[in-house]
């Protein structure tokens, strides 16, 4: 058994990367401590201690994942994926009749299969795309990759948890492109979204179509294929407004609010306004730890979970926010670097998948706290309070460090 671990060169581990993660976790603990500092309810007061325990568990989990051989993930990929699908279906079945069906009770403990799904999909997609026979010029192979993310995503949409389901689409494109999807196809996949968004205004629609045609011409592909893309996009542009007009008022309102295009003063936007007030009032140096009035007087709901970044913004100011942002940026850039350096394709794809999940969470969550992104309920890696997501994040860290240690191996 020992021989398997012999060639792990610990010196190859990316310490800077790990240090960034650790620093972020510590900042997160401080923010959670601050956010729970003046709470009366004992449940909130315990947040800090609980998060500390979760962090320990996370570090242990990360250590285990670092040690595990890449082969282990390879062979686990299918099993884990189908187990996850099974658990997602089970969650829906067990919680039938509940308006929200996100948790699976295991004893006194609540388990969220959608969190596990993030890991399973990354591993499964990585293996699927790393297999020798895969040819990303083939329509079928690309389609299957999409089906792989679509199945859990649709199950999660039904929970309902739109935010989390979107994470899977954030994985599929970067990982496909990394695996060798021709840029032409990437472009084709992206065009319907461009058309959809631009189709509400004649001029933007016209501009988008012109742009698509120009790019298609530049790619110099077969006329038939290009024409098909154009026709598909024209149809898309006509159908979208029709569908939109068919929708009920509340549905449209919901979508606009979700996209952050419409305000909803009583509900979600109250949080965003208070979050902006918290962050903006922090100024350059911040109000000081435990001195943020927005935080301490709880003007912002969810400040220890989804809106934890507003605590950082208020109490540590522009300086603190920038440090956190730079740590995150470093973390992502470093992970991409590792993915590029890893000689094992499967490993590299797992790293890209993990990076995509973390990156998506970071951008959406921080963007949400400053009012640039819709409020989706996606937590911030390493900083937000919450055990299961911390374990998922640490697993991804484990996968990335695992790859960095073995980067010279095929």
């Amino acid at each position: 058994m020992m021989t398997k671990f012999e060639d792990i060169k610990v010196s190859n581990a990316d310490y800077a990367f790990f240090l960034a993660v650790l620093l972020l976790c510590i900042i997160g603990l401080i923010a959670i401590y601050s956010a729970s500092y003046q709470a009366e309810s004992p449940a909130l007061k315990d947040n800090f201690a609980k998060q500390l325990v979760w962090l320990m568990l996370g570090l242990i989990l990360m250590g285990i994942i670092i040690i595990l051989p890449v082969r282990f993930f390879w062979s686990l990929a299918y099993v884990l994926y189908f187990l996850t699908i099974f658990l997602l279906i089970l969650t829906l079945v067990i919680n039938r009749g509940n308006p929200v069906a996100r948790w699976l009770p295991i004893g006194s403990f609540q388990f969220q299969p959608s969190e596990l799904a993030k890991i399973s999909v990354v591993i499964f997609l990585a293996r699927y795309l790393a297999e020798e026979k895969r040819d990303l010029n083939k329509f079928k192979d690309i389609l299957i990759a999409f089906v792989i993310v679509l199945v859990p995503a649709l199950l999660i949409v039904n929970q309902p948890d739109l935010g989390t389901s979107l994470v899977f689409f954030a994985i599929v494109l970067p990982i496909l492109f990394w695996a060798g999807l021709p840029s032409f196809y990437l472009f084709i996949i992206l065009t319907p979204f461009i058309t959809m968004i631009s189709s509400f205004n004649f001029y933007t629609y016209f501009l988008a179509m012109a742009l698509i045609i120009v790019v298609l011409l530049l790619f110099k592909r077969k006329i038939l294929l290009s024409s098909l893309v154009i026709i598909a996009n024209i149809v898309m542009g006509i159908i979208t407004p029709m569908l939109w007009n068919q929708m009920r008022e509340y549905q449209r309102h919901r979508i606009l609010t979700f996209l952050g295009l419409e305000m909803d003063p009583k509900g979600l936007s109250y949080q965003v306004i208070q979050s902006k007030v918290a962050i903006g009032s922090g100024g350059f140096w911040g109000k000081g730890i435990l001195k943020g009035t927005q935080t301490q007087l709880r003007f912002l709901p969810e400040q220890h979970t989804d809106f934890v970044f507003s605590v950082v913004g208020e109490e540590l100011g522009f300086i603190g926010s920038s440090i956190v942002l730079i740590l995150f940026l470093f973390l992502l850039l470093r992970a991409i670097y590792i993915a590029a350096k890893v000689r094992n394709k499967f490993s590299g794809l797992m790293v890209i998948g993990a990076t995509a999940v973390l990156g998506f969470h970071i951008i959406i969550n921080i963007g949400m706290t400053v009012g640039m992104m819709p409020v989706t309920g996606l937590p911030l890696p390493f900083l937000s309070y919450g055990g299961s997501f911390l374990l998922v994040s640490m697993s991804f860290v484990g996968i990335i460090i695992n790859a960095s240690i073995r980067r010279f191996r095929y």
Partner: protein, 595 residues
Amino acid sequence: MQPFMTLAKKQVVYSAFVIILFMILIARFFYLQIYKQEQYFKASERNRIREITVEPNRGLMFDRNGEVLVDNYPSYSAYAIPFEVRKADSVLNLAGRILDISPAEIRSIIARERSGQFTPVKLKRQIDFKTISLIEELRLDLPGILYQNEPRRYYPSGIRAPHLFGYLGEVTKSELNQPEYKNFRLGDIVGKKGLERYYDSELRGLRGYQYVEVDAYGREIKALKDKPEILPVPGRNLHLTIDAPLQRMLEARMDSLQGGAVVVDCHTGGVLALVSKPDFDPEIFTKPVPVEVWHSLINDPRKPLYDRMVQSLYPPGSTYKLVLVAAALETGSITPSWKAFCPGYTWMGRRRFDCWNINGHGESDLLQAIEQSCNVYFYKLGLKVGLDHWAHFSRIFLFDKPTGIDLINERAGLVPDRAYLDRQFGKDQWPKGLIFNLAIGQGDLLVSPLQMARLAMIIANEGVYRQFHILNYLEDPLTKTKKPAQVDSVRIVGVSAETFKIIKQGMYRVCNGDRGTGRAANYRDITVAGKTGTAQNPHGDDHAWFIGFAPFEAPQIAFCIFVENGGSGGRNAAPIAREIIKNYFFRAKTNDDKI
């Protein structure tokens, strides 16, 4: 074109993508935390700092001798903070039960009257002590429900004088648009009528503020050290020129009548008593007025809300003959010895004009004519003086101007002149007999009782008018500094001392002559000079007038008594003057003796 990018190239693309996104985020942080910091900081302060207003005590009113006329009584109102009760049905249900308002109504009050998330909205005025203690007891179950002190008036002196004191009420939406009420909120209590309204800004004082830190649930966390409390400044006290015993006596004396009386100090213009009847109980307005009560007040045919002394205009009847006398003497139309014969009537063309005494007064000179108020004499005098001179002297005696008393809605009289009559009848189309009516104070001429009191004062002072005022001085309740009322003094130009002497002589004869119409005004050794009036009233019985001053030798007070549908002035108004004399001069003396 290369089919695959190398991983190194992809790394650059991915990194660039991530960097761009992060640059956008950092720019956003820069924008919020540095560029907009001040704005957001203010917003966060607004979030956490609640301003609690502390209502000042409203100024009191005293009479000239320091007797309290209008006092405050501790009273509380219940409020709701819209933000805090916006979702809590349980709070509204409980509050509704305690205050006896339905939760739906509370919601509608809040929706109607809110002016901010954290600005309390008044739910109910004058909640009783039991309700306050219930709110206090259930404090924890009633977040966002509070109560505050609010001025409530009471009248300890037994003087009602609702027209004089006025009353308080909630500021209305339309009033809030006026600059005067710039910093007011719906539900604030302001003076609505009378002195309460006229001196509202003095009586009101300045609100105090306390600042407390609150959390998102609106719970008070602590007092703020860096924002000290601002103490309320109590309103200033009004020390009035009113003489409480005189006012009390007049109110009682006239209680069954319609009309009123005003007594002024000739030397200062200070109003000693001002009564308008019928009136209403001012206590009605110390509580929220029920709709039925309000409707019964405004629909009462006797119009109790109307201040008859200040706001109503009437024909002055014979009292106005004094103005014609001044015009006649000053224009040289007659000398006092000019005589006219009264057979009880006279003719103008084919129209017959009667004297009030159909048996006729025979031949009389000016003083006799004034003493007996002979209409025929004055018809003839009017004809001699002419409309233009008459109107001119009416204006000299200020009948086209209000007295400027410190009450609201005072009306100026109507002096018909050539221009006015031309408008009414067409150019030069008006009947020549019109001057007959005007000469005896009838016709289109309209005056307020207050203006008649002013005429009495001008004659008493031989041409000097001191502006009427009810305020003597304002007093700061903290520093006790006094600020006297600004009083204008006007000398009438165009009427000689000689003329005044003759008019005064005539008025002396009215009260003291053998056949004087105002003999009922005298009391003991105080000599009264006056003039009676009996104004014909197309709508009913004649109005009774009596104006005058006393003592004749050195006038101290001037007065006007007016009784709507009172009949003869000599019989029904002059005796009230006697009561005034008795009360003012003899009560004062006994009081002085005591001291």
